[in-house]
């Protein structure tokens, strides 16, 4: 994986978020530079996913500040650079009626991949997550782990430098989790940043932050 064109830094100061009008996370502070990863760990309902929504610009923080910087010389900006974000939700965002190839073709178009590069990128992503043989199989026949791997293949298609991952290894066996760990390590080596909500300890270099 070649280096990303822009290296992003992210800084959170006393960040807090609410759910249903109730304060669930308070006082989250960290700084991540290009090549860094942060694992958010905590019990179910502690607010990890809500916090990821704040990072993704889907939810507004109740207090504190979050800033992004496109390289060390750029100014800090409070708006999430959403076109630079790869967001993996806690459940696989996979349509049962589509084949793996059709699913990734949708996302390749959504990510603006040129037509000429699309097929090779889809094949490479499917191969990397180990489901290339299921390319023309509808996702309704996939196991939970295969769905998760198909969803993660998006991350490899997108070529986006900011990864926000919610339980990326849920429902995966050790070997598949290892593949994802390697992909995250490659992403960081290429200058990306990653914020990962997880129960498991990922096999990737990262800072850890307890939530809740």
């Amino acid at each position: 994986m070649g280096p990303y064109q822009t290296s992003w830094n992210v800084r959170a100061r006393d960040l807090g978020c609410d759910r249903g009008g109730r304060a669930i996370v308070r006082g989250v502070s960290f700084t991540l530079e290009s090549g860094d990863a942060l694992q958010l760990f905590g019990a179910n309902g502690a607010g990890k996913s809500t916090l990821l929504n704040v990072f993704g610009g889907v939810a507004t923080p109740a207090e504190g500040a979050l800033h992004w910087q496109a390289g060390p010389a750029a100014s800090w900006d409070a708006r999430t650079p959403q076109r630079q974000v790869l967001f993996l939700a806690d459940a696989p965002s996979v349509k049962a009626q589509l084949t793996a190839h059709e699913h990734l073709r949708f996302w390749a178009a959504a990510y603006g991949l040129p037509n000429g590069d699309r097929e090779s990128a889809i094949s490479a992503a499917l191969e990397r997550v180990g489901i290339e043989k299921l390319k023309d199989t509808r996702a309704e026949r996939f196991s939970a782990g295969q769905r998760r791997r198909l969803d993660f293949a998006r991350a490899l298609l997108a070529r986006r430098p900011i990864w926000l991952l919610d339980e990326p290894t849920a429902a995966l066996d050790a070997q598949s989790a290892e593949v994802i760990g390697v992909a995250i390590t490659d992403h960081l080596s290429a200058g990306g940043v990653a914020i990962i909500a997880t129960h498991a300890t990922l096999n990737a270099p990262s800072k850890r932050l307890a939530i809740g």
């Binding site: 929504n53 993704g56 610009g57 889907v58 939810a59 507004t60 999430t80 959403q82 076109r83 974000v85 790869l86 967001f87 993996l88 939700a89 806690d90 459940a91 696989p92 965002s93 996979v94 349509k95 009626q97 589509l98 059709e102 073709r105 949708f106 996302w107 390749a108 178009a109 959504a110 990510y111 603006g112 997108a158 986006r160 926000l164």
Partner: protein
């Protein structure tokens, strides 16, 4: 080409593929249209004069209900499986997604309805010379109905009993296009005037809702994720 037109086309292609494979909302919408029109005809009775008087209202109502039914959970599936959250986090604007959904709805339910609306008018004893004009008047009203049902679906996305709630939200908004739509068809039948003031009003309502509701629908989708 920028990513947005590709994103729009991809949403359209994906939703069209899903709709044609799963026998989704479009099928039930069309089935409902046929059942509603047939049962209304049976309830009115065999008198041709009574059927002809009721034809405009039945055709307009059946169209509105079919669109409502086909689109009620339009965004719900993407909300439930997290796709909507992913798209909201990865894009500054959900406009291409919304337009892709709208075009998919036109292709999967709008076009089939356009094909069967003339049949309803014929069933209800409308003279053959007026059928194409009456169907065209409903087509003029379809943009308003489409953006209204999508607005209702967007507001209800993620809420309990979303489909029912969408119907309740959409019904009051659809009243004006329905009233003037029925009057425009009556004007065609009784006076032979296609471009009547009522037709102009239906077209104007389509423009009004077409400009007003999409931004609110897109905002509602984002707000529903918070």
């Amino acid at each position: 080409m920028s990513a947005s037109p590709r994103f729009l086309r991809a949403t359209f292609a994906r939703d069209f593929a899903i709709a044609t494979r799963s026998g989704g909302g479009w099928f039930y919408g069309l089935l409902f249209f046929a059942l509603f029109a047939t049962l209304s005809g049976l309830a009115i009775g065999p008198e041709r004069a009574s059927l002809a008087i009721a034809a405009p209202a039945i055709a307009w109502l059946a169209t509105a209900f079919a669109l409502q039914l086909a689109s009620a959970d339009c965004f719900e599936s993407d909300f439930r499986d997290g796709t909507l959250r992913v798209l909201a986090a990865e894009n500054e604007s959900l406009a291409p997604y919304y337009v892709g959904k709208l075009l998919s709805l036109i292709a999967t339910i709008g076009v089939p309805l356009i094909c069967v609306i003339p049949v309803v008018f014929l069933m209800f004893g409308t003279p053959a010379s007026d059928v194409s004009g009456a169907a065209a008047l409903i087509i003029i009203g379809m943009p308003a109905l489409l953006v209204i049902v999508l607005f209702a679906a967007a507001i209800a996305t993620g809420l309990r009993a979303a489909g029912l709630l969408a119907s309740l939200i959409g019904a009051p908004l659809a009243a004006a296009p329905l009233i003037f739509g029925v009057l425009s068809v009556k004007s065609l039948f009784e006076r032979g005037v296609f471009w009547s003031p009522e037709t102009m009003l239906v077209a104007a309502l389509g423009l009004f809702f077409g400009v007003l509701l999409p931004p609110f629908s897109i905002a509602a989708l984002r707000y529903g994720l918070e």
